[in-house]
Symmetry: C2
Subunit: 394 residues, 2 copies
């Protein structure tokens, strides 16, 4: 019979999707160029030409049997080796190819990482504000997502609440830095304190507590900001990556889990992931996409537009009186709503064709997210709409 659990999930519709659909519908009325659609986290700059060139070269020159042949479910060995080498060079780690499990993006990475370290019923902690998809990602594995309340001062970590919630039932802690939706990057101090508390609790409880670090925005960090690599500070750590944002390839769904060589059972976790994969039907990502990203590991799209947009919006919004912590990376910012009800605020903003996402679905009330991964020209045109929104309502 049709399984009711999944049928029930069809009832809810994400706020972000509703807003995005509104933006598209409004665009059909007044021209999409006149809708200031800040709803979606879609990269707005093209993939580096090198990626396209590598793909074409492989298609033209490689033996198709080899190029499209079966690959190991762990990923192609040469690709795993190259990912390890690139991470080692950049972050001073000691990964080998054996510590890398190639995945269909960050969702695939998290699905496997959580299944490796959390039994059904175990708790996984994350921190508000958080990416709302974490709830189905975690809960559908059988583990239970619990959300630590936000540090609304700096959008770092509310350590008091964290220590209280880090009980014996917790199998893993899921972090996301640089953060969607706040745009904040965890400081060295934050990462060290997080590691210290987790190590202390591991000893106290006598079992491993894993750090699962979701890092799709790792490459989008702004000038002057130090973005520590979390796995360098905590041994039981699994780093989950996606090339979606750094290479502007969200539709190609390619990423990996990097298993800290110092973690418990480090040598077998990637092989465990390939066992998990048999049940999830994940398979490994397509050979050609694996081989292509392996050739451009140290490149990114031209990500500078995001910092340009951030600076323009940050200056204007703070001048207009919005309270906002200055983002350290990503293509999001997360100002305080000028009225306590962020949903009501976002409704008002729609009248000025400003599509903003109220913070409620990110696990904190009274803020809104601006996804400024759009053309700078449009960001500049949006400023007048923000001014009118404030002047006529607050």
């Amino acid at each position: 019979m049709i399984v009711q659990k999944y049928k029930d999930m069809l009832q809810g519709k994400s706020v972000i999707r509703q807003l995005s659909e509104f933006a598209v519908a409004r665009g059909q009325e007044i021209g999409y160029e006149n809708v200031f659609d800040f709803s979606l986290g879609n990269p707005s700059v093209p993939v580096p030409q090198e990626f396209t060139d590598v793909m074409i070269k492989m298609l033209q020159e490689k033996n198709p049997m080899e190029l499209h042949g079966y690959s190991q479910s762990l990923g192609i060995p040469s690709v795993r080796d190259k990912v390890a080498a690139s991470l080692n060079k950049r972050f001073g780690m000691n990964y080998t190819g054996n510590h890398i499990f190639m995945t269909t993006g960050a969702a695939g990475a998290i699905a496997h990482a959580v299944r490796c370290v959390a039994e059904p019923g175990d708790e996984v902690l994350t921190f508000a504000p958080y990416f709302p998809e974490y709830a189905p990602y975690i809960n559908l594995t059988g583990a239970v997502l619990k959300v630590v309340p936000a540090d609304t001062e700096n959008f770092q970590i509310n350590f008091e609440a964290f220590e209280e919630m880090l009980t014996e039932k917790v199998a893993a802690v899921l972090i996301n830095t640089p953060n969607n939706p706040s745009g904040m990057v965890y400081s060295l101090e934050t990462v060290k304190e997080l590691a210290r508390i987790m190590e202390e609790k591991q000893k106290q409880y006598g079992h491993d507590i894993f750090l699962i670090s979701d890092e799709p925005y790792r490459e989008i960090v702004f000038a002057g900001v130090d973005a520590p690599y979390p796995s360098a500070f905590y041994d039981n750590s699994l780093s989950c990556y996606s090339f979606s944002k750094s290479l502007s390839l969200p539709g190609e769904r390619i990423g990996y889990v990097a298993v800290n060589p110092k973690c418990t059972d480090a040598e077998i976790i990637s092989v465990m992931c390939s066992q998990i994969s048999r049940g999830t039907g994940h398979n490994c990502p397509p050979s050609i996409i694996q081989l292509a990203v392996a050739e451009v590991l140290d490149l990114t799209s031209d990500l500078s537009v995001y910092e340009t947009n951030m600076n323009i919006l940050y200056r204007e919004l703070t001048e207009l009186g919005f309270e906002c912590v200055r983002p350290g990376g990503t293509f999001y910012m997360f100002p305080k709503s000028p009225e306590p009800d962020a949903v009501a605020f976002a409704e008002k903003a729609k009248k000025y064709d400003l599509i903003l996402v109220p913070s409620d679905s990110f696990g904190v009330k009274g803020y809104f997210r601006i996804a400024y991964c759009i053309d700078t020209e449009k960001v500049e045109r949006s400023l007048e709409a923000f001014r009118r929104l404030v002047k006529e309502n607050y």
Copy 2:
């Protein structure tokens, strides 16, 4: 803590993989061209040139933002429409794009289909001989795979055993025609009788029993063989497809679930699959691969080599006295072992550099599988080894 269930799975090593590794090691001694490696079901003919041309054209001409942009987790709408149209034309069905859920190959398709229709604890029946991966595919969803004993007469269906095992606990029946490992195609009579019994039991128990039809070999059917499309004969059916074999793209992991428009909740099953996907981390397949296969839906690789190889081997082996049902499709055949212990037989065969897979892991004893997806020239050279094997041992 590290989850023991997946750690335990690392103990077992598949017989097929062991044999394949033996073949590679032996190849390093005597040259791989001298090892008659019939162990692996890897396509041996290249992808059609049209696929390569379409990929290159898209990379050269399409806007990269559009080409590599986020796609819906259900799959790209235009691709789903084209898949539906192609199936309708070929099999007289009435699919629309809404009935198609794009997946990372047949494993992804089965993982989603089973989760749609079987609760943890429910039984899923399949028929020996069967693809050994069905066990982890099904059991890791929480459902329980049960295997109906083989009809060793014709490798169709042992209906007596089937009726007995089709109890109220059964949520789904998983079939695979054309079949790995037997090479047999279910006849019209078989498919009709299967449907009749399932319909009868549905009525008797008052609940749906789904037919999950795994069809990666659908396009490899030999001259004179009628291969009925199972979903045309049973309403509650989900057809699971992979392009791996028909287009020789096993590494690119692309396929789909096609939901019978007449089945219960037909209009929402693909959307349920996209909810399931949030928990499995499946995502949809890469945009570029979806778009490329959609342009070559009605093409296949040159599959004629498989029939050529089958005819050569079937003639020689039956002349040598092997009992064998003549395959109707795939690139497998499944002769009876000349001694009851097929493992002992396969060991003897290795001495003649014949790499054959004993049938035990396919759920039936006393047979062996020949995967003849290799060059015809090598098949011909293998005949002398078969002759010596028989002459010197039996």
